[in-house]
Structures are given as structure tokens and as C-alpha cells.
């Protein structure tokens, strides 16, 4: 526990240093760093609507962060959250199109969640199986499957589920029982109960990972596969199961997007959620609870990026991405800590 909190602290300091560097950069560009901070703050927390939107951006980041962090326990680097969430969203669209009149809303939404989880999960399971049975490197296979997912999803959107009334590349609107109901306090932002369910599930999942045999098997495999195998833990099972769950969790992004936001599946809807998820997991250092603040930070930067265009003269939304990059660098510069430790100890001979 002490170790986890120390590593959390390191992440915070790293992120703060990255943010400072970003703000210095605006100073250089001729914009007041304080103003940039104020724009970012007001844009993400300024009103009920803004806060709702920030949380709405945060949810996919938690999910994709999870989908990177879970296989990471077992020693796998999942670059495929983007493809998995694409397939999850397709699953949601297909499920709602297949059964438009499915009973009460709770029932319909649960059905959509299941479809998203299974579709994304299978897409994650494929590289898991390839790794376990053929030894194919998961980084390569997940990247390739991202492209395949984009193609498959485009085919279904354009030729199978296409809205004939629309001139855009999008499916028909999903039936109303499937819609997530937004909260009134968020003033129309597409933010509802599901967010809190997500937070609670994330916390529970974190406990589950540390207390369950499955979590232990993933950790042992990631730590030392040979030792795990010697003591009867199957690495194939750990890899396949973690990739299935990772894909499923990423697939749930489809629920947030299709049922919560546009109520239809649009081609290319994802703002690189899958790839930002890698950064989210990195900043959280693989800690599941840490994904929540980490995702929130990326949510704020995402939400604020648009306002930077509108409300400042010298900087654009690109600054938000630059800050994201600097934060990642700040957090990832792990070696700095060892170097500092060395400096501190040198004078004492």
C-alpha cells in the first residue's frame, strides 16, 4: 500500500511538471498561462452542463484505461482498445437494430451492454488466442486488428445498418428504450446514472483484482511467466481471459457513445479514445483506482481543448494536446526519480 501511494505521488508530481511546462509554452507563445488555466477550468467546471460534458468525456477514458491496465497485469500491452471499442459500438448498434422493441429501458440497456461487451471481448480475445497459441506479439496483432475493425465497422454502417434518410455515414437512430437518460442538473449534457455505475464498478473491480485468484494469476503471469507456469498457473489462460475482459470493457465505450450521445453509430466517432487509454493507464501506473483521476484529467483537457480555440487569441486546441503529451512525458520519466535519489546521496561519503 505504501508503495502504491508513493507511485501515485510520483505520478502527480510528474503530471504537475508536465502541466507547468505546457503553461510555460503558452507564455512563450504570448498567452497568459493564468488565462489558459482559467479557460480550461471554466470550460470543464464552469457550469452544470460543462461539468456534465467533462464527465461524459471522462467515461470512455476510464473504460479504455481499464482495457489497457488489465492485460498489462498479465504482461500484455493492449494497443487494440480502439478496435475493440469500435466493435463494441457496432455490437450496440446491431443489438438495438435487431430488437428495437425490447421491453423496459433497463432491459434494453442491459442487452446493449452485453452486446458491446461480447463484441469488444471477442475482438480482444483474438490477439489473446494468437499470443497464447502461436506466440504472435500482441502489439502487432492488436494494431492490425484496429484497422480490420475500422473496415468491418465501415461496411456494416454503410451497407447493413445505414440510415436511408441520412446523407452521412451513420446508422439509423436507435429505438428510444435504449436511450440513456441525462441528468437535469447537467442541463442537457449526455450524462446519466451509468457514469456512477461505472465508478462503483471500477472500484469494485480493483478490489476484485487484488482479492481474487484470477487477479493473482494475472499478476504472477505478468511478473514471471516461467515461475507462474512452474507452479501451475497457465499463462495462456491468463492472457486469453485478460484480453477478453479488456476488449469487453473497451467495447462498453460503444454504450456511452451510441446510447448516451448520438443515439446512432457514426463512422469514426471515437476521438482516439483507445489510444488516449494507453496514456490514461500510464499516468495511473496500472493502478485501477488511479485510472479515475487520470481519466478525469484527460477528460478536462479534452473538454477544454475546444474552448482554447474560442477564448484565447494566441493558442489553439493543439495546446491541449501538447499539454497531454508533456504530462505523459512528465509521468513517464521514471528514471528521473532514481537520478534524484542518486544526487541526494552523493555528498554523504
Amino acid at each position: 500500500m505504501k508503495l502504491a501511494s508513493l507511485s501515485f505521488l510520483k505520478s502527480c508530481v510528474g503530471a504537475a511538471v508536465g502541466l507547468m511546462l505546457g503553461l510555460l509554452l503558452c507564455k512563450y507563445a504570448g498567452e497568459s498561462p493564468l488565462k489558459v488555466l482559467r479557460v480550461l477550468y471554466e470550460s470543464s467546471f464552469g457550469s452544470g452542463y460543462d461539468f456534465g460534458m467533462t464527465l461524459f468525456y471522462t467515461a470512455p477514458f476510464i473504460l479504455t484505461g481499464l482495457s489497457v491496465a488489465i492485460p498489462f497485469r498479465a504482461g500484455l500491452f493492449n494497443i487494440g482498445a480502439e478496435g475493440q471499442l469500435t466493435m463494441g459500438a457496432l455490437g450496440v448498434a446491431a443489438a438495438s437494430a435487431l430488437m428495437p422493441n425490447l421491453g423496459p429501458s433497463l432491459f434494453a440497456i442491459s442487452f446493449a451492454c452485453l452486446a458491446a461487451f461480447v463484441c469488444g471481448g471477442v475482438w480482444g480475445l483474438i490477439p489473446g488466442i494468437l499470443k497464447a497459441k502461436r506466440g504472435s506479439h500482441e502489439v502487432i496483432t492488436t494494431i492490425l486488428l484496429n484497422f480490420i475493425a475500422a473496415g468491418v465497422s465501415a461496411y456494416f454502417i454503410l451497407y447493413v445498418l445505414k440510415d436511408p434518410a441520412s446523407s452521412q455515414a451513420e446508422t439509423a437512430e436507435v429505438a428510444s428504450p435504449y436511450w440513456l437518460k441525462p441528468y437535469a442538473i447537467f442541463n442537457g449534457a449526455p450524462m446519466g446514472d451509468l457514469f456512477w455505475v461505472l465508478i462503483v464498478l471500477t472500484l469494485l473491480f480493483s478490489v476484485f483484482l487484488s482479492l481474487s485468484r484470477w487477479g493473482y494469476e494475472l499478476k504472477s503471469t505478468g511478473e514471471n511467466e516461467r515461475a507462474a507456469e512452474t507452479y501451475g498457473i497457465s499463462k495462456s489462460r491468463a492472457w486469453m481471459s485478460s484480453m477478453f475482459v479488456a476488449g469487453g470493457v473497451a467495447g462498453l465505450v460503444g454504450v456511452v457513445e451510441v446510447l448516451g450521445n448520438s443515439h446512432r453509430l457514426k463512422m469514426g466517432f471515437s476521438a482516439d479514445y483507445g489510444f488516449v487509454g494507453i496514456a490514461v493507464a500510464l499516468v495511473a501506473r496500472g493502478n485501477i483506482v488511479g485510472l479515475i483521476p487520470s481519466a478525469l484529467m484527460f477528460g478536462i483537457l479534452q473538454k477544454g481543448s475546444g474552448s482554447l480555440d474560442l477564448e484565447t487569441d494566441k493558442v489553439t486546441r493543439d495546446l491541449s494536446y501538447i499539454i497531454q503529451g508533456l504530462i505523459i512525458l512528465g509521468v513517464a520519466s521514471e528514471g528521473i526519480w532514481d537520478y534524484l535519489k542518486l544526487l541526494r546521496r552523493k555528498p554523504r561519503v
Binding site: 485468484r213 493473482y216 499478476k219 504472477s220 514471471n224 516461467r226 515461475a227 512452474t230
Partner: protein, 508 residues
């Protein structure tokens, strides 16, 4: 003249001193031993000399001149060469190419002159009175002893004046050891200086001229070998009296011939490129320790892998039975249910999760034990409670269950591996190299634990590369060569020379 002199040499890693104020001198044309327990800093001192870890304080004098050795290449230029414990040879290349690597004679600017290289090597061999002729053989076709000779020839080819040998006898048969030291003596007579790192006191006493003893990174003292005894060196190493052979009680199990064997392996054959097994049969009865002897690579590793994980060998033929039950399809969890405990060959690679704490490591392999998990959930508090009692029973340090394994000493890591294998007390034990990389104090404790389990009626199969350990502990010894059992020795007939001969391929 002193070939080498260490003057107050210290090497610090952050706030840990691997060497501290180490001073000793080595006369030119002598064999100098450097002994100490594992982790005493012998290898660090030699790495300082060879330029891998230059000292942080103090200085090293070479032939009387201060030399700050910055890199291995620099060290080689100063005439210092090192044979590492794990040989640094390209196994698919020929002996000749391995030797000249880095110092290739050329014809013109680009063409290798192998003929010239071969000629100068043959001159070296004959001038030192050595014998070697397998120049065109790939390294992989050579025995371990021959590979070592290649490493030494390489140093001679580089015109090294000082030869550092790091635990050179760890992988050799007694016969090969003798041959090695005969060669080293010849090199000494030709004026070479030899630094020998070893923890085998007998060898050091027999073959060196002077010995420096190290403890906890510091030099305890340097003595002339003529004036040293095993007891003296051991006391200097450990700082207290140690017994070398297990002195405890060996309870005789009544009429072991009439006991039914717990384990039966019959005509076990495994095809493998590297380490095949041919027609291996043996039985294991309650209350006996059966030692498995053999030079590394003669089938012992494969046998242990098979015994602890038979389901990974679908092509193995023969029988493997525990209490009459077939085990050919069993995995580690099934073996555990059959009350088999395992102390794996390489604890770092196969036994431990180094970045995790003792709790996680104690659980490894026991995560399906109903005491520790239920309905897929772990009983963390039960694990910690049991671990705490093991920590005090086996005197594991540090005593904190959340200590990280990677920060613990080899001896304490191994104690945890053993505590885990003996929880709950198994009826059968596969034990491999239980004291490898473990300090002398812990060795005694580990040997005690093994004999205690034997006296309790457990059947123990003991794999070890230390013949002395096998002779101390075993009731019988099976000697492996070329993938099959070549001889069996009963305790009353144990003779290291006879066993060594079989290990080297001779007949008993």
C-alpha cells in the same frame, strides 16, 4: 613484484557498499585465491579489476602502476583477462573464430587470416604444454570442460598476463577439475598470474599459493595457503565456527526394502535436441533421500522438468506413477494435490516473483489450496498468518511479510521457497540445488530441514551440482550421463572419485 595491488578499494551502489576498503596484493607468477560466501563481494572486486564496475574510491595498481581501469577493453589492453562463470562464447561458431574474435589477424585491410591465427594458437598451446586440437569444432559440440579451455586459450591469445577465473569448477567433474588445475599450474610456471574466485575451500587449499578471504564486502585478511586450514578459512569467511558435513541424526527407517515405493518411474524416454532422456527407471521410497548426480546437461534438468510438469511432455514415453497412480497427464496443481513439494532449479527464474512481497510469493502454487482460497477468492489474512509463522520457524529475514523478494538475500529467498514447498508438509519432495547461491549459515539450516523431512518419512529426490552436498545428504546416488542412469551408489559405497568418473562418462 606485485602483479596486482588493491589499495583501499571501495565500490558503492547508492548507499550500499559491495566492496569497502579492500586491500590485498597478488605476486606475479602465483595463483591467488579469493574466497568468501555468496554476496561477500568477490565478484564485485574482480569486476572492478576488469573494468566493469570501476571502484568509487581507492586505487588498483597493475605491476606497481596506478591504473584507473575504465572498461573491459582497457583492462585487456593492460593484460588482464577474465573467464566469467557463464562462458561468453558464440555456440554455433568454431573454436578458432571464438578465440580470435576481437583480435583477428588480417591480410590486407579486410580479409581474415585464419591460417596465421591457427599457427600462433598452436604455438601458444605447445609453448604452455597444453593439448588442444578441436579448432574447427563449433563450441556447441564441446564439453563444458573443453569450452572452459577455449576461454582460457582466448585469454592467452590476447596475451593476458593476469587471468581471472570466476568459480571455474562449478560445472566440472572432479577429473576435469584436476585437469584444469594442472593446466593452471603450467601457466603459473610460465609466469602468468592467476586470480581464482571460489567458495570451495578444498580446491583453494590445494591449488593456490595465497588466499584473500572476504566477508561483507571487506577483506578479512590474506594468508599463505601453506599456513591455512579449512577451519581457519571458514572461520574467517563466516566469522564463526561452521560444520561442513551434516552432523545431525540420521534416523534409519526400518527395513526400507519392504516399504512400498511412493514414486515409480519406468523406462522414461524423452526425445529432445538438447537434453534427451533414455530409459530412465528408478523408485523412491518413504524416508530416503535419493541424490541425482551428473554434469550439467546430462538429463537431470529434463528429468526434473518432467517430474514437476509431466503434462508439458506429451511425447514422453514410459511410466510415471505416484502411489500407483499414473501421472503422465498431471500438471503442477495435480502434483500438489498428490502431496508433492517442489524446490525448483533456478529460484529467480522459476520460483519467485521478485517485484512482489513475501505474501504474494508464499501464495504461488498454493493459490488453489482450500486453506488459502475459496470460490475463486483469496483468503489474504489466512495467508499472512501462516506466512508469519513460517517466517519465525525458518528464521527468514526481514521478518516483515510485505518485504519485497528482490531486496532479500539469496539465502532468505531460498528459505521462503523451502517454507512454501513444505507447507503443508508434503510426502514427496523434488529438490533442486537447494543451497545454490546461499550463504554458509543458511546452508546448514536448509540441510537440517531436508534431513528432518527425510526422518519424518518423506521421499526426497535431490538434484545438486555439489557432489559434497549429495554425499552428505543422500541415502543413494544415481549418476546421470548422456540422458540415462549410468550407476547407482549406496551410502556405504560413496566415493567422490568413483562417482566423478561416472559423471565424466567412465564406468564405475
Amino acid at each position: 613484484m606485485n602483479a596486482i595491488e588493491f589499495k583501499n578499494v571501495s565500490r558503492r551502489f547508492e548507499d550500499f557498499y559491495a566492496n569497502r576498503n579492500l586491500s590485498f596484493e597478488v605476486k606475479a607468477g602465483t595463483i591467488h585465491g579469493l574466497v568468501g560466501e555468496n554476496g561477500a563481494g568477490k565478484s564485485t572486486a574482480m569486476k572492478a579489476l576488469f573494468g566493469i564496475h570501476p571502484p568509487t574510491e581507492g586505487e588498483i595498481l597493475i605491476r606497481g602502476k596506478t591504473s584507473s581501469i575504465k572498461s573491459p577493453i582497457h583492462a585487456m589492453r593492460l593484460g588482464i583477462g577474465m573467464v566469467h562463470q557463464h562462458f561468453m562464447l558464440a555456440s554455433s561458431e568454431t573454436v578458432l573464430d571464438n578465440i580470435i574474435l576481437g583480435h583477428e589477424p588480417r591480410r590486407g585491410l579486410i580479409f581474415l587470416d585464419r591460417k596465421k591465427a591457427l599457427k600462433s594458437l598452436q604455438e601458444i598451446v605447445s609453448s604452455y604444454g597444453l593439448s588442444f586440437h578441436k579448432w574447427e569444432f563449433p563450441i556447441a559440440k564441446l564439453s563444458v570442460g573443453e569450452q572452459q579451455r577455449v576461454e582460457i586459450l582466448k585469454l592467452l591469445y590476447q596475451k593476458s598476463e593476469v587471468l581471472i577465473l570466476d568459480e571455474p569448477t562449478a560445472v566440472l567433474t572432479p577429473q576435469e577439475v584436476r585437469e584444469l588445475f594442472q593446466n593452471l599450474k603450467r601457466l603459473k610456471e610460465e609466469g602468468k598470474t592467476i586470480l581464482l574466485i571460489s567458495h570451495k575451500l578444498k580446491e583453494v587449499l590445494e591449488f593456490t599459493d595465497s588466499v584473500t578471504v572476504m566477508r561483507r564486502g571487506e577483506g578479512v585478511g590474506t594468508v599463505k595457503t601453506k599456513e591455512a586450514t579449512e577451519d581457519l578459512l571458514a572461520r574467517m569467511m563466516v566469522g564463526r565456527e561452521v560444520s561442513f558435513t551434516y552432523q545431525g541424526e540420521r534416523k534409519m527407517i526400518a527395513h526400507p526394502e519392504h516399504l512400498k515405493p511412493l514414486v515409480r518411474v519406468e523406462r522414461l524416454t524423452i526425445e529432445s535436441q538438447t537434453e534427451p532422456l533414455r530409459d530412465v527407471s528408478f523408485e523412491l521410497k518413504p524416508g530416503e533421500i535419493v541424490g541425482i548426480a551428473g554434469v550439467q546437461g546430462n538429463g537431470q534438468t529434463e528429468l526434473l522438468k518432467y517430474l514437476s510438469h509431466p503434462d508439458r511432455f506429451p511425447k514422453a514415453s514410459g511410466e510415471y506413477m505416484i502411489r500407483g497412480k499414473h501421472m503422465q497427464m498431471a500438471g503442477p496443481l495435480e502434483l500438489r494435490r498428490q502431496k508433492v513439494g517442489l524446490i525448483p532449479e533456478d529460484r529467480l527464474e522459476e520460483g519467485l516473483l521478485l517485484r512482489q512481497d513475501m505474501r504474494e510469493n508464499f501464495l504461488l502454487g498454493q493459490h488453489h489450496d482450500p486453506r488459502y482460497s475459496e470460490y475463486g477468492m483469496l483468503k489474504r489474512s489466512r495467508v499472512t498468518a501462516e506466512l508469519e509463522s513460517k517466517i519465525s520457524e525458518y528464521d527468514i529475514r526481514p521478518t516483515n511479510p510485505s518485504a519485497l523478494l528482490g531486496k532479500m538475500s539469496g539465502g532468505n529467498q531460498q528459505k521462503l521457497v523451502i517454507a512454501r514447498a513444505l507447507d503443508p508438509s508434503p510426502e514427496i519432495l523434488w529438490v533442486a540445488h537447494p543451497t545454490r547461491g546461499v550463504d554458509v549459515g543458511a546452508i546448514e539450516k536448509i540441510h537440517e530441514a531436508l534431513v528432518r523431512e527425510r526422518n519424518l518419512g518423506r521421499a526426497i529426490l535431490l538434484f545438486s551440482s555439489e557432489l559434497d552436498e549429495l554425499i552428505d545428504l543422500s541415502d543413494r546416488i544415481l549418476v546421470f550421463f548422456g540422458g540415462s542412469i549410468k550407476a547407482e551408489f549406496q551410502r556405504r559405497d560413496f566415493d567422490p572419485w568413483k562417482i566423478g568418473k561416472v559423471m565424466g562418462g567412465g564406468s564405475a
